[in-house]
């Protein structure tokens, strides 16, 4: 075979050119431009989607418990966001001292849930308290999940000594009794809201690092990672565009659960008296009211109920998400 023949065959495979041009001239010109779609194609896509049922994820979430969870989370978020409009009393009155009212008043028309120490309205504190809990929870979770994911993926992907060192550090922090450690740190740095956020965030990194390391190790051994290497992807690209999207699901679930966990733990901290005293916070309320539990149970009951509600909301949502996202459960049916 002469070189010319080879070239001809090589560059113009039979029939291919015509086929290609034909398709280009019909509807495919839209296909090669990202984001554009052709009408006929869309029709086909519609037929196709009829098969694969895009609503799968939403139908999975369509579980009574999950729906309750979503509603509760939205409710608590609304309280937190619209607290100034929803609260019957201004922040000054529920945070410091209400001069127009007395300590531990039973529920009445004026104070629907009664009052607590310094005559502060329980309902008002309940609404304002959502702010502290949610903002601390959210900030802490963002810190810990972002850094945890980065550390975990690097540790899993490179392995070796780096992995050993990171994991030993993780072991040490994990081995600490969590609440005790937080109490000690809070005692050292003072119970400032921003410190508390940081402490929860930093301590949480460890858990996320370990969580994502586990799944990333599994993903790392999958063939598509090798295929990406063969396609010339660099390490960072493999880590963050190939492996990360495939192991983010458990992180999403864990984040939902952990927001609840942090709110709960924060309440415990305040209950022990280590919370930020200037903050309107549910745990602090219970701490204040616990000595009067015999005479004014409402003052301790409602904040606790609010904690339960908020945490339960996140837990229900997390549970639903896990069911919906878990590939093992998904493949069945």
């Amino acid at each position: 075979m002469s070189k010319i023949e080879i070239k001809q065959k090589y560059y113009r495979p039979e029939g291919f050119e015509n086929q290609f041009n034909e398709i280009l001239t019909t509807y495919n010109k839209f296909l090669v431009v990202p984001g554009k779609k052709d009408e006929e194609l869309e029709k086909r896509d519609f037929l196709y989607n009829r098969l694969k049922s895009k609503r799968k994820f939403y139908t999975k979430l369509n579980n009574p418990l999950t729906k309750v969870g979503i509603v509760v989370v939205l409710l608590v978020a609304t309280w937190a966001f619209f607290a100034p409009w929803l609260s019957p009393y201004a922040f000054r009155l529920v945070a410091v001292k209400d001069p127009n009212s007395a300590d531990y008043l039973p529920p009445s028309a004026l104070h629907l849930f009664g009052t607590t120490k310094f005559g502060r309205d329980v309902l008002g504190r309940l609404v304002w308290g959502a702010r502290a809990s949610l903002s601390i929870g959210l900030v802490a979770i963002v810190i810990s999940s972002v850094f945890g994911v980065i550390v975990g993926i690097i540790s899993a992907y490179y392995g070796g000594i780096l992995d050993s060192i990171i994991m030993r550090l993780v072991d040490i922090i994990m081995a600490f009794p969590g609440l005790v450690m937080i109490i000690i740190i809070v005692s050292i740095y003072g119970s400032n809201m921003s410190y508390i956020m940081l402490i929860y965030g930093i301590l949480g990194i460890v858990g996320y690092a370990r969580l994502i390391r586990g799944t990333a190790l599994q993903e790392k051994s999958r063939t598509y990672v090798e295929a990406a290497k063969v396609s010339g992807s660099r390490d960072w690209r493999i880590m963050f565009t190939h492996i990360l999207p495939n192991c983010i699901t458990p992180v999403i679930v864990a984040v939902t659960f952990d927001i609840g966990g942090i709110i709960l733990s924060l309440a415990g901290l305040s209950f022990l008296g280590f919370g930020d005293p200037r903050l309107v916070e549910w745990g602090t309320d219970i701490n204040i009211a616990q000595r009067q539990i015999e005479y004014a149970p409402w003052a301790a009951f409602w904040p606790g109920f609010a904690i339960l509600l908020a945490v339960l909301g996140f837990m229900l949502l997390g549970d639903g998400l896990r069911d919906a996202l878990d590939p093992r459960l998904q493949e069945k049916n």
């Binding site: 086909r44 009829r50 098969l51 049922s53 799968k56 139908t59 049916n333």
Partner: protein, 424 residues
Amino acid sequence: MKNVKDMSKTFNNLDISGASQKMTKNDVKPLLIVKDLHTYFFTQEGIVKAVDGVSFTINHDEILGLVGETGCGKSVTALSLLKLIRSPGEIVSGEIFFDGIDIVEKTNEEMLKLRGNIMTMMFQDPMNSLNPVLKVGDQVSEVYLLHQMEFLKDELQKAKEKNSKLKENLKRMKKELKTCSPEGAETLKNQINAIKQQIKFRITINDIARREAAALLDRIGLPNAETIVNRYPHELSGGMRQRIMISMGLACNAKLLICDEPTTALDVTIQAQILDMIRELKRKLKNSVLFITHSLGVIYELCDRVAVMYSGNIVEYGTVQNIFKNPQHPYTQGLMTSIPRVTRESRAQELTIIPGMVPNLIFPPSGCRFHPRCDHAMVICKKIRPELHEMPNKVQVACHLFNKDKSGEEYRKLTEEEKQEDVL
């Protein structure tokens, strides 16, 4: 061969002897009759018609092969026979008669007595099909414990009697020891020690079952059966695990053994071993086998008759010799030609292929499910689902090509566009 003798002996008391076999031979009734079976899965996406009108029979002492591609409903058919279909699946209609028993009408409680006893099933992946935390012996002996309780109790009684006899002997000897001379004492002591080793402290029914399991594994040709019963599945190789799966099926000498792709996960040489073993066992035990596979080669080597499945239907059904020599249905023809053959002539030829792919079972094509991929597709193929017809060479084929009168618009050939109309 020693093994053969042993086997026939033990299986005699399990009520499957040559004599009873002969009696059933005269009876022309087939062992299993499946009529128009429909098994659907009611999922959120829609109804998956996994098995849609399947009929076949299995005779006594015969291997029926069920061949088809992934997702054509082979395994679901097999699971339906044992009523092991789990929610959201359901046997919608159809009849299954096994040895005169109506399986579809049976309650779950009644099925428990049949499963593993007179009909049993082994699965594709022997690693996942054996419980990883139980010893192999326990898993095999469980079948005895479930279905052979009477037999085991008899054996237990025998063993206990033997034990008590030994104990009496021991007592007598001990008495003698006190009175006898010093020279005789030496030999007596040895005898006593020997007996002591034979006496078991306590014999339970589990011990008997485990002993039977070891004996079974031994008969099946596993070396060191005594030690293998005390191993865990992960300590064995793939071939050994598959043998253990087979032995579980044979423990009660089931009349029907359903093998769901038993050799797919194995290497060629091991596959040859296992096929050889199934063939041997079937020859000795004269039971029937439903062999499910996607490999035409295995079917050709092992089976007597074959049913070719496509997308929940049987399209061709007959003896292996006839179908492999002269396939009639376009799908079977396509399958046959798409296998690379190992002959000098076949090398030069390009493989002829079936275009397209297996249809989705939620929205299957109308009429004949094969028509979108068929070269001979006609208008009628799109409208009416063909029934199985008996052909001159005793092969049953479900295809409109073999209708007698083929004139009129109904038999116009479809164009490519028409074929693909409702295919996604």
